[in-house]
Subunit: 190 residues, 4 copies
DNA sequence: AATGAATGAGCCTTCATTCAT
DNA sequence: CATGAATGAAGGCTCATTCAT
């Protein structure tokens, strides 16, 4: 809340926008500091490298995304099935923009081939959490189903979500998300 | 077939490997020419720009992928359902490598935010064709189903394939492809 | 007249246009061969280097300019004074174009600082001849004037011509040529 | 005055020398930074492009030339005619060097064919000012002459100056400047 | 904290020329 | 004669990072 955090936050916010809209490697430090209206050195007062900023982008971005998603899903109280379906409505809202850029994590995944690097660990962690979140809702919805059944359903819903994201990004349409949503309804109704 | 084409092919092959393994923007002309063991100028005798080479990579890569996939599916003769399922076996084969890099098109998608650029057009075209390919198999499998039904099933299978690709890439496991495969079997059995 | 000479002539003509309109150093071999629609190697069958072509441009260009100028002045028969004045009318005709590029020799002079190089020798030779041409007309017009007087008048006319050329090029107007012409009339009338 | 400005000044001075002596296009950034003994990146800390440096060269060069000329002419107090004649003495001083390169503006003019580019605007502005300077001296010298008469005389003197510059550059002699000077004396005496 | 000058390896691309066909 | 692939130095410029102030 102080000036201190504000400055760092401002850099992260500005950079997050650029990284997401343009890509990580294609976005240079110069562009970031100009957009944030700070000096070169100031940037390195707050981040020891571009990668550190990139990690912060991924971390905060996922936190924000999760928080907003959860806030959106709250309206569905304790109805896990409706929540799972609503997940795709939430996705569709974000994808409505004419130049939808998909999922920051998946985009960064394409740009960071090194398996062990911090970026990849962050991506894996985030995606693992997302799958676990879906799984927990499936578990709530079908408490009596077998473990394997629930894993299959949760996995399928997760894949449909990922597929819908990249398809919406590819075609710049929300159609794929509709398809995914309908399929999820079927999966939960079976 | 002559020496002439060989040199250009060699550049494309070397570059395709690097683009796919490392990413497009992170791969420099210098690295490409060193890997291909040619002079800087030689590169520009064959390609008018890096982008042209990138487009050639996408074009040839998709051609090759489609050809190999079709060759693999031939063994299933005129059984469209088995072909659709086998699609995921084929995918799993490619994903077995310890550092699976997913789909070149989707990776490039993440790196090219400009909607109208040639890269994006190539990606859209390729993905549209892939969806159409799945759709034609679904049509063959369920000739009596309604158009909307077939669209939904084909769409879902397509999304599962995309999702499985990025998930396998994220986690470096073929597990997601197995999940997708099982789900496709259900979709076709309904 | 044969095919042989035609090809070489074509290169010279195309290059002359480009050198004059754009400048010598800024015009690349690639642009020349593309404009002439020939292969890289073909160029070097006819010229051993870019410089040789440049020299040929200057040589032929001055020959052509002199020939056209003389043809234009012929109408003034044996009236040297009118010829000297008409020289500026001729100059004005060339300078009427909206993006007048002045004198190829003077432009090349600006681009070739090396005093002893062939280009500079060509320029010096051409300018010496031009001054001598003016001098001969002055001599015809004022056969009884002293040598020093005629040298002064011829020199001044020459300088006015050079000045008018670069001024017309600077301002993209023919006004300076009119000024020069009037001054020459005064110089000859004294 | 501080260290900061010194570095930038140093680059400008080094580059000005090279641009003037060799030509603009033929002088590379590499040569400039080597002569200035700085790193590539340092250059671009101070100038956003080669063109910006080129413009600075023209701007400072003309400022310096004008200042030195005015300082030289001061000795002639309020005698405009003597000042006009002395202009050519001043010119001759500069042209005495064995490899006289003439006027930076006219040389740059030869290298920049694009009418609207900043370089051309700078050149036009400078030349317009020079003509206006001559005109003001002519006006002082002949306050009772008609406007047209003064315009003609000033114009002729200007053209003689330009002509003398390029002729001295062409022949590497100051002779043409002497001729111009004598002619100017006549023009003012009439 | 904040600054911005300095670095030099690297970016993609063009240069004039050669040479085997 | 004509071709166009091959060369590698050079073109102008950007990169992420450091450091003295």
């Amino acid at each position: 809340m102080t000036e201190k955090t504000n400055r760092k936050n401002q850099i992260i916010e500005v950079a997050s926008k650029l990284f997401f809209e343009q890509g990580y490697h294609v976005t240079g430090i110069k562009q970031i500091i100009e957009a944030a209206d700070i000096a070169k050195g100031t940037f390195y007062c707050h981040f020891k490298s571009k990668e550190e900023l990139g990690l912060e982008w991924l971390r905060r971005g996922s936190e924000k995304w999760i928080a907003c998603r959860n806030a959106y899903l709250e309206q569905f109280g304790d109805e896990p099935a409706r929540k799972l379906v609503a997940l795709f409505d939430y996705q569709a809202k974000g994808a409505a923009a004419c130049s939808y850029r998909g999922c920051a994590m998946l985009n960064m995944l394409a740009e960071s081939p090194d398996l062990g690097c911090p970026m990849r660990q962050a991506i894996r962690g985030y995606k693992k959490d997302f799958l676990a979140f879906i799984r927990s809702l499936v578990d709530q919805h079908l408490p009596n189903a077998s473990d394997a059944d629930r894993e299959q359903r949760a996995g399928a819903i997760y894949l449909l979500s990922e597929g819908a994201t990249v398809a919406a990004q590819s075609f710049c349409k929300t159609g794929p998300i509709e398809i995914a949503k309908k399929q999820v309804e079927k999966i939960l109704a079976e």
